[in-house]
Symmetry: C2
Subunit: 329 residues, 2 copies
DNA sequence: ATGTTATATAGATATTTATCTATATGGGGG
DNA sequence: CCCCCATATAGATAAATATCTATATAACAT
């Protein structure tokens, strides 16, 4: 048997003929003319090299070889129907895989989205990478992930962005601090105190420093700590003051006070960033759709700032490269 | 996914690419050039409508959709390999089905061939039809069977024949009959006695009668019986004499004597008859091959007359109609 | 940087396919 | 014996496929 010239179409035609028992009827069902079907049948017979059908009292019945071919054809066509279903599931974002990279601070909020999403789409595998802004930028350059979360997006030359959450930076002091009971504080009053800061490369620190620069202020004594958690606990323990994302504070925080500093909070927004030069996986797209639709159910309303629909619309227009896609190592 | 333009060849190429991890290597294995394979891959990707491969550190890895397609392709190609094996078995006569039609008398001998054959090819299903010559001729006209056994073939316009066994007709009398001890008997001496005859339409009767005619003799009193068995037993019981195929007599027959009639035995041969206008099933062909090769192990040497190889040779030349074959109801 | 290697694209072509309309053929029923 | 239905064949054509060589592009290793 010569498999080289075997098409799935040919098998479909053959199956239709066996199922209907006549060439003409099959032709009608397939919206073809009778000679067309006859020809296909002939070709198929030649490819197989055996008689496939025999006619008895006006109907066509498969020979031995024909029956086996019918069985094989059904199985094979069925297998590809399944594959089609699989593709639909992939396309619908119901299954598949994506990876998302978060700046540290965002890890306090993103699980509120990721959790419900993975309950809704249990077949989707998600990988989450966490690090500071600098590290995430590197991942972004290397195109290592499908989605990124930044407060301030990188270049945007090769990226699309969509805000989804307010990320206010507030000044915090330990309960009992002299400034903690004041109606109004000026940032200059804080700068004499020791400030606990994240490492350079952190988005929070970057935002804070550029804000200070705008205000024409300079930092006094500082102490560098590697994580938001450590800073929060440090502040509570009286090691100094800090400027932190409000999301870092737990709902109840009896030993920490937010200072009413003039000009604060520093407003920023988290946004999902998608590289525009890399095809977005269906699963990641599905997550964005999910986020756009369910964000309000997942986070506190005061932080809401959902501009994801716009991002989705812009992504829809994007052209697609169907055969291959590239990923850097 | 558009299944219309999907070929098995395309899947083979795809599988080779995934298996080897590079287009060029796959091209070498398939004895194609690299651009050819690239093109095929592109077409396949278009047919599927999803990226199938992504390149990482110089090797190609399937995407999610690509992996599933790979699995589907392997299964589907495997299924058709199995189908190919099935075809080979069919062609080799190792499996399948055939039917054979015997004139009554031949039923004493054919099981000696059919038995060993079905032990050697347990997957082959055989249907045996038995009847008198007239009935077998009808089956032959209607093309109801793959093989026929006659002593004298019909027209031969649409048939090929091959002798395989002597079928001598002898005159028999009960032990103790006056003629039973004679050295030499003349047929005319028998015709006064009552002769037991098969029904008109029987080959044995036809042969006997035409032999009588040649000799210019006429039958005396007769008695018609529906089977060779009945006649044999009738002769033993003294109901009369008969002319029978020697095969009808059991190896030991103490109550029956073969008379040494001048001009007897009437020599005839059984032959396998194959319609030349109908494609012979592989299974039937396999049986003929088996018979040609093993006849001498299956029957008594004195009856041997194996001309089947000649028949097989003539069948090999026959043209084939690959797509369809016809059978009358 | 630079040469090497792997892929992709372009351009070309013979072959095959899918499909039609029109016509011949062949079998079964009256 | 003739007619009707189903099937097969012929002839035609637009599209697609398979395949090549030559060349451009991208990625990788020095």
């Amino acid at each position: 048997m010569n498999i080289r010239h075997l098409t799935f179409r040919l098998l479909q035609v053959y199956v239709a003929v066996v199922a209907s028992g006549t060439v003409s009827e099959a032709a009608r069902r397939l919206h073809l003319t009778q000679p067309t079907v006859s020809m296909q049948l002939k070709r198929l017979g030649e490819a197989v090299g055996e008689p496939l059908l025999e006619s008895r009292q006006g109907r066509l019945y498969p020979t031995e070889a024909g029956s086996e071919l019918y069985r094989a054809s059904r199985e094979v066509l069925g297998r590809f129907d399944d594959f089609d279903d699989y593709l639909s599931a992939l396309r619908g974002g119901e299954r598949g895989r994506f990876s998302i990279a978060l700046v540290n601070t965002a890890q306090y909020v993103l699980p509120r989205l990721l959790g419900p999403h993975s309950r809704a789409f249990p077949e989707v595998e998600v990988t989450v990478h966490i690090g500071n802004r600098r590290q995430m930028l590197t991942r972004f350059e290397r195109q290592e992930d499908d989605l990124y979360v930044f407060s301030h997006p990188p270049s945007l030359a090769h990226a699309r962005a969509g805000r989804f959450l307010r990320n206010p930076l507030v000044a915090v002091a330990p309960r009992g601090h002299p400034l903690a009971t004041r109606e109004q504080v000026d940032m200059s009053e804080l700068l004499g105190e020791r400030m606990l800061l994240r490492e350079p490369g952190s988005a929070t620190r970057m935002l804070f420093e550029s804000w200070l620069q705008e205000q024409g202020l300079t930092l006094g004594p500082t102490l560098q700590m590697a994580s938001n958690e450590a800073i929060r606990i440090g502040v509570a323990a009286g090691m100094g003051l800090a400027v932190l994302s409000e999301h870092v504070l737990p709902p109840e925080h009896p030993d920490i006070v937010i200072l009413p500093v003039a000009g604060l909070p520093i407003e920023s927004h988290w946004q999902f960033i998608v590289r525009s030069d890399r095809r977005l996986s269906h699963a990641a797209l599905g997550f964005l759709r999910f986020a756009a639709g369910h964000l309000d159910e997942c986070v506190e309303p005061r932080f809401l700032s959902n501009e994801l629909q716009g991002l989705l619309d812009r992504l829809e227009e994007a052209p697609r490269n169907l055969t291959t896609r590239r990923t850097e190592p």
